[in-house]
Symmetry: C2
Subunit: 147 residues, 2 copies
């Protein structure tokens, strides 16, 4: 290997490792990211709840169900990295197979809700909202902080 | 009109007006609903910002752009009813044609972002994020409250 190519490779490695260390998410970033997702879930469930109480426009119902379903699908990736903190109990990672299965179930249940809402609106999908597995999972895995 | 049909019509009107008064959203409901939407927008923009800083998984980028676009499309309906309060300045309704045009522009810009993100990922869509018309609209129409 010539001295020039050795220099170029060393330089390239340096650049790459600097870039990847700059790019690594620290613990607070990981917590922030999953909170952006779970807060979105919370806001959309709240909007859906208002519609069910006839306090918000029913014509947006199927769209909120769709947003909820798509958002639920991003959550597992956000919890994969083991970083206790925020409102997540350590059980999330200690019982990862169960927790991740529950996120899969949430994704499936919200996708189902969105599908039914799209064709049947509030009448068909409204009763399904209460069957979403939010509380059972929060009871085990979430330690809600006072706002 | 017979007395019976008069009675039946009066009865029907009573039922209808009672039902619609039970169903009417009060001012706080209207404010809450649009805040659920704008907070969702905020959380999704924050998640996108983290990805652009390489502090959250890039593979979720297109999905967040999609959630953002769909959510933006629900905002106009949420602001239609003239209810000052929350973080909305009275200018929202005083200058409704301009405000609603800006929401249409936001919807179009986020839909464009989502479309580009779906095929081109962060590389293609990342630079578009800074061109979203958030700040210009907030400067005129939003009075941010301390959290």
């Amino acid at each position: 290997m010539s001295r020039l190519s050795h220099f170029l490779i060393t330089f390239a490695v340096l650049i790459t490792s600097t870039a990847s260390s700059a790019a690594r998410a620290d613990d607070q970033d990981v917590i922030d990211y999953r909170e952006h997702i779970m807060k979105t879930v919370g806001e959309q469930v709240a909007a859906i709840g208002q519609i069910l109480q006839q306090k918000a426009p029913a014509e947006n119902f199927a769209t909120h169900a769709q947003i909820l379903a798509i958002t639920a699908g991003t959550a597992k990736k956000a919890f994969e990295q083991k970083v206790p903190g925020g409102e997540a109990k350590p059980e999330v990672w200690a019982q990862w197979p169960d927790f991740s299965k529950r996120l899969d179930e949430l994704t499936a249940a919200t996708a189902d809700l969105a599908r039914i809402a799209k064709t049947g609106g509030v009448t068909a999908a409204g009763p399904k909202v209460q069957t979403l597995p939010c509380k059972s999972c929060h009871d085990t895995y979430r330690m809600e902080k006072k706002k």
